[in-house]
Symmetry: C2
Amino acid sequence: MARSTAQRVAATLRDRIEGGGLPPGTQLSEEALGRDLGVSRNTLREAFRLLVHESLVVHRLNRGVFVRVLEPADVRDIYRMRGALETAGVRAAATAPHALHEAVRGAVTHAEQAASEGDWQEVGSADLRFHRALAALADSARVDAAMDRLMAELRLAFHEMPSPRRFHEPFVARNRSLAALLERGEYERAEAELTTYLDDALRLILDAMREAGR
Amino acid sequence: MARSTAQRVAATLRDRIEGGGLPPGTQLSEEALGRDLGVSRNTLREAFRLLVHESLVVHRLNRGVFVRVLEPADVRDIYRMRGALETAGVRAAATAPHALHEAVRGAVTHAEQAASEGDWQEVGSADLRFHRALAALADSARVDAAMDRLMAELRLAFHEMPSPRRFHEPFVARNRSLAALLERGEYERAEAELTTYLDDALRLILDAMREAGR
DNA sequence: GCTAAGATATTGTTCAACAATCCTCAATAG
DNA sequence: CTATTGAGGATTGTTGAACAATATCTTAGC
């Protein structure tokens, strides 16, 4: 796969951010980072633009770029958008291609398996995959892209979660039952369940953020 | 308002693209445009990144950037995404702040006035504002931003519409009746009407594109 | 007419310099 | 003591030129 230098730099920065090496709020100095990564300031700036597009960093004019800090208001907003996209997926479930339903099922069983092994980090990413698969039922590249950006932003919030287990465990079963509703064609109930599901998850995250001192 | 050079350059390019001065498919040469606009290649590239983010142009590695060409598949995809966002707005209408409902009403009457004056271009933008206002009922900055990007993309497709009047006229009345349903609190019916509305509009655009020879 | 090698043009990337802007912190006025 | 102002320093914004990498076009050979 042909990738430009800027794309490669953006990838390593993305890893550092999601890995916690660059915590939210950190300023990404052009000179220091450029020296560190061995690229010119101009190329680094191109990489910054890519990350801004993913909302992993924010750019303030004449101030530079900073790792995104998620406020409670942001998380609420993200969940509104999630609601829009995932609901769209559920409502399109009746006419969605078989492969997309397959992806939903796969994410559910993957999460269950990871849970039985106690790998809560893996449960977390399987959960994200499940929700991405839900939205993907809408069968739209733009919905998929928007959903991917939301998930990337959410990962920033997960960093502040104290116990991944306490957060993810209750949702494994709910994923299963939501998927079951879909397979049985009970779309109305699936939609209702999805709404309360997202409300509950949002509340958990906001509580965790409040405890973590903000 | 403080804007960087790149932002100003992006704005003029955006105007030229939406005004038809740079038709879809045109390559934006770095050297020629830079000379024309009096900015360096590096700054022009930053402007390009902004436009790529708005999907007004596409960037092909080692090939350059080109004004976006909308395929029928793109238009279909855009309408799926629109459906997701506007439906989300309608479903949140019950709890939306008063000011947001006001915006919906304002866009409807604005379109009606422009129609009575025969200014179909203006009817077109009022129509876009109406739909943006619908999505905005979701009361989410991210939904708003996504909707703005969609509208910008759609404007590219409108360029290929032969008769703005034939396309926009039938929808003025439908906008009014949809808004009326919302005010009466008949959200289910509003949602259903919105769905068929979008289907009809999509069909019209696809027909026009086919006629325009593609 | 087709393929392959070379020439040409364009983009990708780097570098160094200067301009514009923001932040810090001390000095000053009230 | 607080608030304001202003210089100084640090960082980003922008430029222009240069070279490397890649794609496209041209030409030679069959």
